[in-house]
């Protein structure tokens, strides 16, 4: 009944996929390393870097679920990071939470609050075209910054809010934060994986490629985008809820910080926007580097310069990101290997033509 198109591809194309053993093996190794990290490198300076790396890992993975998969680059997700921070600080004082393990219970609460906030925000923002959307997310962030400065009775204005640090001893202080962060990252990655493989994820990817065509084929684009938006906001809220007790204070300019949004974008793009693992790799590498430099050199303006240049370079030279580029290299390697195999087996089944 079916007629196959004659194509020039050989009968069985070589498998381009990295063999499963290598893939799961390397993931396993990475997982073990990450769990053992604070135990092995117990220097608090190093583990502080680790905690920040986890915070960014959760943030970037969550951000990628929306911006990476749908193509709507949101440059204002600092809003949800800030909501997470402020919610945690305000609730901790309002409910008289004992500093320490109990504070972590506020993380799910902040996640829910961030998610709830994301619904009307997303609904409003997703009605416009892509470029206006991007610009609006930035404007949104400034709006929230303004509110944080001005609703002084709630947010403490420019004095910010304080959170009493837990009374853990100095050498293991960072470890609970690190492991909670690691746990959140695992949840974020799992969510990203589930989304990617589901029909919902397929809808997002279709929207990224051609939104109108997707809509004409029955995909409920507004609903799909909104749900992804809310999911990403939830993870940013979680990151904020981890950040606030760790740093101990919440200020408007650091909660709603354009540099934070920039770093999310740079990390995700460098790693590979819209891929599953790319942004996580980008986050781990760049966030660690960022914290290391901040601790060693200080000075926010150097960051802006470095990030600016890095972003320009990535956008110009490798807009797909590093991880997909590496995977392309692997594919080329496989092709070359297969070709060498064919060439070294002369006159086999008349496959080789002049």
């Amino acid at each position: 009944m079916s007629t196959q198109l004659a194509t020039n591809t050989p009968a069985a194309p070589p498998s381009y996929e990295i063999p499963k053993i290598a893939r799961f093996g390397s993931l396993g190794v990475v997982a073990i390393l990450m769990v053992a990290f604070p135990v092995v490198f117990s220097n608090p300076t190093v583990t502080t870097i680790g905690v920040f790396a986890m915070i960014y890992l959760v943030s970037v993975t969550g951000w990628n679920i929306f911006s990476g998969y749908s193509g709507y680059i949101a440059l204002g997700h600092a809003v949800f990071f800030g909501i997470g921070q402020y919610a945690t600080a305000m609730l901790a004082s309002y409910w008289n939470i004992t500093p320490g393990w109990q504070t972590f219970l506020l993380i799910p609460v902040s996640m829910v609050l961030a998610g709830i906030a994301a619904v009307p925000i997303g609904f409003m923002l997703l009605r416009v075209r892509k470029h206006t959307f991007i610009v609006l997310t930035i404007a949104l962030m400034f709006i929230f910054q303004l509110f944080a400065y001005n609703f002084r009775s709630w947010t403490g204005g420019s004095q910010g809010l304080e959170m009493t640090p837990p009374s853990w001893s100095g050498d293991i202080f960072n470890m609970p934060f690190y492991y909670v962060g690691l746990g959140l990252s695992v949840i974020a990655l799992l969510t990203s994986w589930v989304v990617r493989r589901s029909k919902f994820g397929l809808g997002l990817l279709a929207i990224r490629d051609d939104e109108d065509r997707a809509r004409s084929l029955g995909i409920k684009t507004t609903q799909t985008k909104l749900i992804a938006f809310v999911i990403s906001a939830v993870f940013l809220g979680a990151a904020g809820a981890l950040y606030a007790p760790f740093v101990g204070s919440v200020y408007p300019q650091f909660s709603f910080d354009p540099a934070f949004d920039l770093s999310l974008a740079v990390m995700a793009f460098t790693g590979g926007l819209g891929t599953l693992l790319g942004p996580s790799v980008g986050a781990l590498v760049i966030a660690s580097a960022q914290q290391y430099f901040l601790l060693t050199f200080g000075g926010a303006n150097v960051f802006l310069i470095v990030y600016g240049v890095l972003f320009i370079l990535i956008l110009r030279l490798l807009p797909g990101g590093v991880v997909p580029a590496l995977s392309m290299q692997w594919q080329h390697h496989v092709v070359r290997r297969e070709r060498r195999k064919l060439e070294s087996e002369p006159q086999q089944e008349g496959v080789a033509k002049q």
Partner: protein, 290 residues
């Protein structure tokens, strides 16, 4: 009276924002890119005028003869090396690139000049004319006149010159424009160069009327974006109306209520407009395209 004064200042300052917003929306209309770096570029222009003013002791208006050519060339260079090579997804990629450029410029400025607030001085800065009971600060009046003059020049160039025809053709239909022999790359490059050259002027105006530092770019860009969104991307008339309107409202609210609420109204208006008419006051209601 106080309100009348506020309206007046809103109009005068609005002229500056109108000029900058016109450049921003024109660049979008011709090239489909959002020049997100305009805020940082204005601050760069301000610092350039400041440096010339401090080291060469030139009047700020005179300094423009130095700063404007520098920034115009910079604008062309940005187009040629960063924007022109973009092949896919122009709008988003160019926006992100300009976002990166803005960050870079801000970082460089902060590193070079530190975060102390400065302002460009001229002997007549604090003079003002008193007409009909209203106070016309001289510097605002001069700036407004300069902005109005440049906007008029922009209008003349766009509607009365051959280049302007090419510009309008590229705006309406880039493919067709290329088919009739218009070098759309050159047109785009020149348009961006003009937009950024105007930022030099804007920088001087901004620098003389405000105390600024590198971080001032955030406030500028967020306001300009709101103005352009409100006016509708691509509509120069919309940008003009919206700039004057927003500034007048902001100033009146600042006076009647408080300066903080003045800034907030800016954004509140944005939200209201978005809910009611997402394409802006004068924007085209298109099918949601890529």
């Amino acid at each position: 009276m106080l309100i009348a004064q506020a309206v007046l200042e809103g109009v005068l300052v609005g002229g500056f924002y109108a000029l900058m917003a016109a450049g921003l929306t024109l660049v979008f209309g011709v090239m489909d890119i959002v020049n997100f770096a305009i805020g940082a570029l204005i601050v760069l222009g301000a610092y350039l005028s400041y440096t010339v003013n401090v080291h060469l002791h030139l009047d700020p208006f005179v300094s423009l003869f130095i700063t404007t050519p520098i920034m115009t060339v910079l604008g062309f260079a940005i187009y040629w090396f960063l924007i022109k090579p973009i092949k896919t997804d122009r709008v988003v990629m160019s926006l992100l690139t300009m976002f990166a450029v803005a960050t870079l410029i801000e970082g460089v400025l902060d590193l070079t000049f530190n975060s102390g607030l400065v302002q460009i001085h001229a002997s007549y800065i604090n003079n003002s004319l008193k007409i009909g009971g209203l106070n016309f600060p001289l510097i605002y009046v001069l700036s407004f006149l300069l902005s109005a003059f440049l906007l008029a020049m922009l209008f003349l160039v766009t509607y009365r010159t051959k280049f302007g025809r090419s510009l309008r053709a590229s705006m309406q239909n880039p493919v067709a424009a290329r088919l009739v022999g218009i070098n759309t790359d050159k047109v785009s490059g020149i348009t961006l160069a003009i937009g950024i050259g105007m930022a030099a002027v804007g920088g001087m105006i901004f620098g003389t009327t405000n105390a600024f530092n590198a971080a001032s770019s955030y406030d500028l860009i967020s306001r300009l974006l709101v103005i352009v969104i409100l006016g509708g991307f691509g509509s120069v008339g919309g940008a003009l109306v919206s700039a004057i309107f927003m500034l007048v409202v902001q100033d009146v609210v600042s006076v009647v209520w408080s300066p903080v609420w003045g800034s907030t109204t800016f954004y509140v208006i944005l939200i209201v407009v978005l809910l009611v008419r997402p394409q802006g006051l004068f924007g085209k209601k298109g099918v949601r395209a890529q």
